[in-house]
């Protein structure tokens, strides 16, 4: 376990992406199977230990220390997976001379085979035998179902593996979803002992093509006659993969979200790989993102949810038709294929995302500004001759978002962040004045400020706290933010009746007295 712990610690503190890749590569090159495969699975978030939930570990740590002290510590540290190892009392004698923790595969096997009620003692025994960095790695491993948050993404790990094997990272991406921990066949291929594992007809994820934000300079420089325009829908980008051997819905980041959208999966009666936007669509009208949010992250979906928030797809592109890889074709050619595909297959719940006809780009600029419809984020501009490439290639696709709306709101509550921002107050709830002169919260923002502003805000909040509720501080109602957002939507969840889409801090308005912040009425007037 010590080697893995050391890797995580060095990844966390190494600032550069290249250093991190080098560290990962060295680890994969030197550690034995199956340890390195399990380490990769941990970084991928592919390990799940149903018997060892955060609440179980927390109870275990509270039993060793004191619930009150644990709470205060957790509030300060801001990260459960770090609080447990740090608060763990030193083993007697206090100074552990060496680290006696078991190796990673042994730990994983034990966690998988142990009875649920035996797990706390098992983990406690390992913590007693370990030094701090191993303790942290251990708890991160157990709680890190969705990834370890150690400053190294799965993507970096794949880049390191690509270097190790002297292959293109996209070759790894394309087989990734057909592999399983501890990935022995992957390492065999990379170390030239076996051919590349074949995805065969497995429904694997294909790397997605992404766009650059358009800049003012680009707008004047582009050869607009060579470009096509389409709406940028405000849903989530998905890849629909249907092969004779299975069907999957992948998010842009290659997460398998099939389980949350059974009606879409049912509608995938074809054999193709399609790129599109997942939306809630009622009677052909696209609903605001907040409706789609109701459907995200669910493992099972009730009949009521299916009726209340029906999902649909606006199709952008086609990557495979049957087994034919179309990614080398131009956008215009693929578009024709997609149109023909739709005309032939008539897939339920899906329709083409229309191309927007334009002569000069000024027309588009006007369209974009006019498009305050809740479900449209702006425009996509794509070169007609662009192949479908992975990643964010330069000069082919552009996103042209609407200008944000903004509101002056008063900081009301602050909460400590997580990860890199734990121990800093970085999550801000802000409000505006209602008709009887009370502040009502309208949203929460976690971004938009610089590191320097974060330090300023953290200090300001600590010096202006009026009450504390667990990790949340209420502050004096004095500081005004200019909050930017993409759209205002009606909300039954918020007391104010309004919710903001993508709120972020544009500026800290230390020059503006709180009384001059905006009124709720004027925010409500922006609801579309």
């Amino acid at each position: 376990m010590k080697a893995f712990a050391e890797l995580l610690e060095r990844l966390l503190f190494s600032p550069g992406r290249n250093t991190k890749i080098a560290l990962l590569r060295a680890y994969f090159a030197t550690r034995p199977d199956p340890e390195r495969g399990y380490a990769l699975a941990a970084i991928a978030g592919d390990l799940d230990f149903p018997g060892a939930k955060p609440a179980t570990l927390r109870a275990m740590a509270e039993a060793r220390t004191d619930p009150e002290l644990f709470n205060l510590s957790y509030d300060f540290v801001g990260d459960l997976a770090e609080t447990i190892p740090l608060i763990w009392p030193p083993a007697a004698p206090p100074r552990a001379v060496h680290d006696a923790s078991p190796e990673l595969p042994e730990i994983i096997t034990a966690l998988r085979t142990a009875k649920r009620d035996a797990i706390p003692d098992l983990v406690a025994g390992w913590l007693d035998a370990s030094q701090t960095s191993t303790r942290i790695a251990l708890i991160k491993l157990i709680t890190g179902g969705g990834g370890l948050r150690v400053g190294a993404s799965l993507r970096l790990a794949k880049l390191a593996l690509a270097e190790l094997g002297g292959v293109d990272v996209d070759e790894i991406e394309e087989v990734w979803h057909s592999l399983e921990p501890p990935y022995l066949d992957l390492f065999d291929w990379l170390e030239k002992r076996a051919p590349r594992p074949s995805p065969q007809d497995k429904p694997v994820f294909r790397p997605v093509m992404l766009a650059h934000p358009i800049e003012t300079k680009d707008i004047s420089d582009l050869d607009w006659s060579a470009h096509r325009a389409e709406w940028k829908w405000d849903g989530i980008r998905v890849q629909l993969v249907a092969t004779p051997h299975g069907k999957r819905i992948y998010s842009r980041t290659a997460d398998d979200i099939s389980g949350s959208f059974p009606e879409i999966l049912d509608a995938m009666t074809f054999h193709a790989v399609l790129d599109g936007e997942l939306l809630v669509i009622r009677d052909n009208v696209v609903a605001p993102f907040s409706d789609l949010q109701q459907r995200l992250g669910r493992k099972t979906v009730s009949a009521a949810m299916l009726t209340a928030f029906p999902a649909g797809i606006r199709l952008y592109d086609i990557l495979f038709e049957g087994e034919h890889d179309l990614r080398g074709l131009t956008f215009d050619e693929r578009r024709q294929r997609l149109e023909a595909f739709c005309a032939r297959e008539h897939p339920a719940r899906m329709e083409l995302s229309p191309l927007i006809k334009f002569e000069v780009h000024h027309e588009l600029a006007a369209l974009r500004e006019g498009a305050r419809e809740a479900a449209i984020e702006g425009l996509m501009i794509k070169r007609g001759d662009s192949p479908y490439l992975s990643g964010r290639p330069k000069g082919l696709w552009w996103k042209w978002k609407r200008e944000p709306l903004s509101v002056d709101a008063v900081l009301m509550y602050a909460q400590r962040g997580h990860g890199k921002r734990s121990s800093y107050y970085s999550d801000y709830t802000f409000g505006v004045w209602n008709e009887v002169g009370e502040l009502v919260p309208i949203g929460k923002a976690y971004s938009g400020y610089t590191d320097t502003e974060l330090l300023y805000l953290d200090k300001w909040i600590r010096n202006h706290t009026t009450a504390r509720f667990g990790p949340v501080r209420e502050v004096e109602k004095e500081l005004v933010f200019e909050v930017g957002f993409d759209a205002a939507q009606k909300s039954a969840r918020h007391k104010s009746g309004v919710a903001l889409r993508f709120p972020r801090i544009l500026r800290i308005r230390t020059d503006k007295p709180a009384a001059e912040a905006d009124q709720l009425e004027s925010v409500k007037a922006l609801i579309v």
């Binding site: 503190f13 600032p15 002290l69 740090l86 030193p90």
Partner: protein
Amino acid sequence: MFQMSHSMVDMTPHPQTWLKTTPSGLYCEPGGFYIDPLRPVERAVISHAHADHARPGHKAVLATEGTLAIMRTRMGTEAAGGAQQVLGYGERLRLGDVTITLHPAGHVLGSAQIAMEYQGARAIVSGDYKRQPDPTCAPFEVVPCDVFVTEATFGLPVFQHPEAEDEIGRLLASVAMFADRTHVVGCYALGKCQRLIAELRRAGYDKPIYLHGAHLPVCETYRALGVDLGELLLATVAAKSALKGAIVLAPPSAIADRWARRLEDPVVCMASGWMRIRQRAKAGGVELPLIISDHADWNGLLATIREVGAPEIWVTHGGEEALIHAATRLQIRARALRLIGYGDEDA
């Protein structure tokens, strides 16, 4: 316990009747002096020379020889106090109706706990202290008392400082591994800097150690007071090539700033108790966090309040809530002493 507590119950006035919080700081009424006052006063007793405890402009200052010397170095002879009076560790002095003694606090050179005896009760204001060994200052002395005023900078059980020796070992291992890079260690100018140097020397590191200009004066004062620090050079005037593989000590504000650009591909290190919280180290851009602190960690705080045996403690800056909770579980009366302005320098 010092004078038996039944005598306190019978006739001895409780220290809370004569040790008072005022806007200028803690005031000992029958002695007519302030302890570590925040504003200029007639008569001040100073626990140690960190800027948040030792402020300029008092008319009369009483402190250890080390504290006064460092104050003069940092703020100039005049600002260090109109009348400066040295009191050695363990010497008794009568101020008004109070007998005062100073005892080592183990925090930095010259740091002292201030013990006050008045009508049969003894209260100790410990200032900042630590229980780990430190080659540059006298170790903390346990003195029994009726009220113990303690800091709580690291007053949460997540703060468990490893041995400084092990952390220095990690630094030296990194220096060996990245022999072409400069290791720049962020540390405060008073105490931490000299302790790091002394610990490096103890670990056998005998090369010159380079300093940011702000760190040199206090090092000179330490030397004048008899602490051997080996060869020290200014980083500012050194050739860039000489700094390859070297260790440079600089203020925390300089390590990730423009000043550090003069260094050869620096490994940014930081020596502080806060480095125990990894995400905090990470957010500060630190590549090699060293958990070395001049404050007691959680176990040090608990051990100290047990050892001094005071039936009551007052907790100043830091994690008061947790320490009060833990003290109460040990059957010790505990309350927060709300003093503002401390804890701004050196952790």
